[in-house]
């Protein structure tokens, strides 16, 4: 075992020493010495040094170690595997493996470029999608015993051992009940996985494995057996008959009643981000359903943010929400903006000095082509937090008119206190003009005829301060500027 002149040196500048082979080991292993056993070795592999067994002595350890290193150095560009190594050494494989791992960890062996490739490849393997294979694994098989009268189910074709794709099974026409496939049992989980990935429900046809878009056929007895419309039309039923399938429309699969929505909102207010609890409260809907429904609601993601914070950051004088009875349509987004800006100015006067000369600020170009969040971000950077908070408040109020459930929630609470929006965004405000511009909105759910405003409610007093010419005939609930509760309000209409 003579590997004489191989000095192990930490990485140094390449010195041409023809009679010495230089091997690279990491600098943290510079303690290693060929002729010695270092304390690190004694501690890490103490079973060799405590006299616990005749099979493990320091001499034996050194023999193992030296052999392993030499073996590695026969081929320093490759990676020495444990399996290749162990045939040459007499000893308990677990102990040998421990020595091997020790040396590899310290880079005394297998420290080269190819080593880094190896973990990456291994990592890639781990990241591979779970292969869905049809049928039970082969180690668990149900076969007909020989000499039995029953027909034998032909074995499924073998899985491609060369690392190919998932096993494909031909439909066999056996008389045995088909063994459950992985996707049968875990179909729901798989779908949920997909849901998690893509954020929407995926229904996969059991036959052609394509996504069923608008509707699918579900077997009445086996809820996991699904066929897309195409396969159903093709008569591709497998071993079932056409009558066993019923049509399920996917378009409006998740229906939320008002009660459920109300429950959802309450739960979110109470439990915040804890979707387990929320889903438990809204007993009829799953976690994912709850989250997606909340996002669909106009102020949904606002609630997501606020529910997290739960603290009242924005101090209001006396914020009280009272259902408004009428709302007026405003016409354009420009007005909206204008008002918002003025309101900001007002707010600045009332609550804090704020950035001066707001009126002089040009309104940032609201580029409709950029994303909503970008717009929101820009807007909120222009004005101070109290302004955006106020604006959002107003937006929510408007949305209350649209959705009775939310009104019921918001009405009951002290509006500003309860929800405690801290960093409001202008998103709702942005949302509304779009809705408004679509035309006048019809009556809300309650059936009362109410006008919808643009979210910027201003009391007469406030209005008179700022808009001398303003007049308004509607009844507003509260002023989003000074947050005083007023019965009448003005400032909405523009001549």
């Amino acid at each position: 075992m003579a590997m004489e002149a191989s000095n192990v040196k930490p990485p140094v500048s390449a010195i041409e020493e023809a009679h010495l082979d230089l091997y690279t080991i990491p600098s943290y292993s510079s303690w290693f010495q060929w002729g010695n056993i270092h304390e690190i070795e004694r501690i890490s592999l103490r079973e060799f040094f405590d006299g616990s067994s005749i099979t493990r002595t320091p001499r034996i350890y050194k023999e193992y170690r030296d052999f392993i290193i030499c073996k590695y150095r026969e081929e320093p560009s490759g990676r020495l595997t444990f399996t290749e190594l162990r045939k040459s050494l007499v000893g308990d494989v677990s102990t040998l493996h421990k020595v091997f791992t020790f040396l590899e960890k310290w880079g005394i062996i297998n420290f080269s470029g190819t080593v880094s490739a190896e973990p990456a490849e291994v990592q890639q393997r781990h990241k591979k999608e779970v292969r869905v294979e049809e049928g039970a694994p082969y180690g668990v098989r149900v076969v007909a015993a020989p000499n039995s009268l029953k027909p034998v189910a032909p074995l499924p074709p073998p899985v491609d051992v060369g690392g190919g794709g998932g096993g494909e099974l031909a439909e066999n026409g056996s008389k045995f009940p088909p063994l459950a496939s992985y996707s049968d049992i875990y179909g729901e989980l798989l779908q949920q996985q997909q849901q998690g990935k893509e954020g929407k429900e995926l229904v996969l046809c059991g036959s052609c494995k394509q996504q069923c878009d608008s509707g699918h056929y579900e077997h009445t007895k086996d809820e996991f057996l699904l066929l897309c419309k195409k396969c159903f039309g093709n008569g591709d039923y497998g071993s079932k008959s056409a009558h066993d399938f019923k049509y399920v429309d996917d378009t409006n699969q998740v229906v939320w009643t008002e009660a459920e929505t109300l429950l959802l909102l309450e739960s979110v207010l109470k439990h915040g981000d804890d979707w387990e609890l929320v889903a438990q409260n809204v007993k009829t809907k799953s976690k994912l359903d709850c989250i997606s429904k909340l996002l669909q609601l106009p102020f949904g993601d606002l609630m997501l943010g606020s529910a997290l914070r739960k603290t009242k950051v924005w101090d209001r004088n006396a914020g009280q929400a009272v259902p408004a009875h009428s709302v007026q349509d405003t016409v354009t987004g420009d007005d909206q903006q204008h008002e918002h800006k003025n309101q900001g100015q007002q707010n600045a006067n009332v609550e804090d000095p704020g950035p001066p000369h707001k009126r002089l600020c040009t309104v940032p170009n609201l580029d409709a082509s950029s994303s909503l969040m970008k717009q929101v971000g820009r807007l909120s950077s222009v004005v101070g937090p109290p302004v955006t908070a106020c604006a959002a408040d107003a937006a929510v109020a408007e949305l209350c008119y649209e959705n009775r459930c939310s009104r019921e929630i918001f009405d009951d609470d002290n509006f500003g206190d309860e929800l405690g929006y801290s960093a409001r965004t202008d998103e709702e405000e942005r949302v509304l003009p779009v809705e408004n511009s679509e035309g006048e909105k019809g009556p809300t759910v309650s059936g009362a005829s109410e006008h919808r405003g643009n979210g910027a409610n201003i009391s007469k007093e406030c209005c008179t301060i700022n808009f001398a010419n303003a007049s308004c005939n509607c009844n507003f609930s509260w002023c989003c500027s000074c947050s005083c509760k007023v019965i009448g309000c003005s400032g909405r209409e523009r001549n």
Binding site: S52, S53, V140
Partner: protein, 241 residues
């Protein structure tokens, strides 16, 4: 980390257990009902409550859509293997200083494996599953069923040897009663003869194996074609009958 005192020495017998870091029992099922034959192998944790056996049996039958008659059979088979294992528990195991050869000779789907290596019965930190993982990784085996099969094969042999060492411990106790200070190192009857430790590990010898013996201890992994698999299965069936 287990304290070193658990490494049983030739003087202190150890309570019966599978001599691996996890005391998991290998279970093998081979049940035939009405012309249907169900085979499976897995590990079971004997400290699980026995109620789990029936739950497991039911789940298996449901997953594989087997006829319900299998439930009781499966549960009974598992239970009886468990009971047998438990009958050894509490008795002394006299592992002594023993390194035994473990042999692998198994076929999993298309993979045929033959291998031989040494296992220290006293090493209660040994891990068959880790060995199987390293094996499959080093040999580039893709079939995920091979690893567990290897681990279970190792466990079964260890189990058998552990059972024998219980019997040997009983014997040696009887012998000890007759002779004072006698140290009896049991030799296993099956599973190969224990390695002569003095010869292999003593100061006069090298633990490096002779080159000509290398291929005896090298694993052989063969990938079989479909026909070969069918042929082998037919042979196995015939042998089993």
């Amino acid at each position: 980390m287990k304290p070193l005192s658990t490494w049983g020495s030739s003087r202190n017998p150890v309570k019966f257990r599978i001599p691996t870091s996890d005391n998991l029992l290998p279970i093998r099922l081979d049940i035939e009902i009405d012309g249907q034959r169900f085979r499976d192998a897995f590990t079971w944790n004997p400290s699980d409550p026995d109620s789990e056996v029936v739950v497991f049996a039911k789940r298996t039958v449901k997953d594989l859509k087997l006829p319900p008659a299998f439930i009781t059979q499966i549960a009974q088979s598992i239970q009886s293997q468990l009971t047998e294992f438990r009958s050894y528990e509490g008795q002394d195991m006299y592992t002594g200083e023993r390194v035994v050869p473990i042999k692998l000779d198994l076929r999993v789907n298309h993979t045929l494996i033959k291998d031989q290596f040494l296992w220290d019965l006293n090493n209660f930190e040994s891990d068959p599953e880790e060995f199987a993982r390293t094996f499959c990784k080093d040999m580039g085996i893709e079939d995920p069923e091979v690893g567990p099969a290897i681990a279970i094969a190792i466990r079964e042999q260890l189990y058998e040897i552990a059972v024998q060492s219980v019997a040997s411990a009983k014997e040696s106790r009887m012998i000890k009663k007759g002779r004072k200070g006698f140290e009896h190192i049991p030799i296993s009857k099956a599973g190969g003869i224990a390695v002569d430790l003095v010869k292999s590990f003593g100061n006069k010898s090298s633990v490096i194996r002779k080159r000509k013996e290398w291929d005896v201890f090298e694993p052989i992994v063969d990938l079989l074609s479909n026909e070969e698999v069918d042929a082998l299965e037919a042979t196995e069936e015939r042998n089993a009958r």
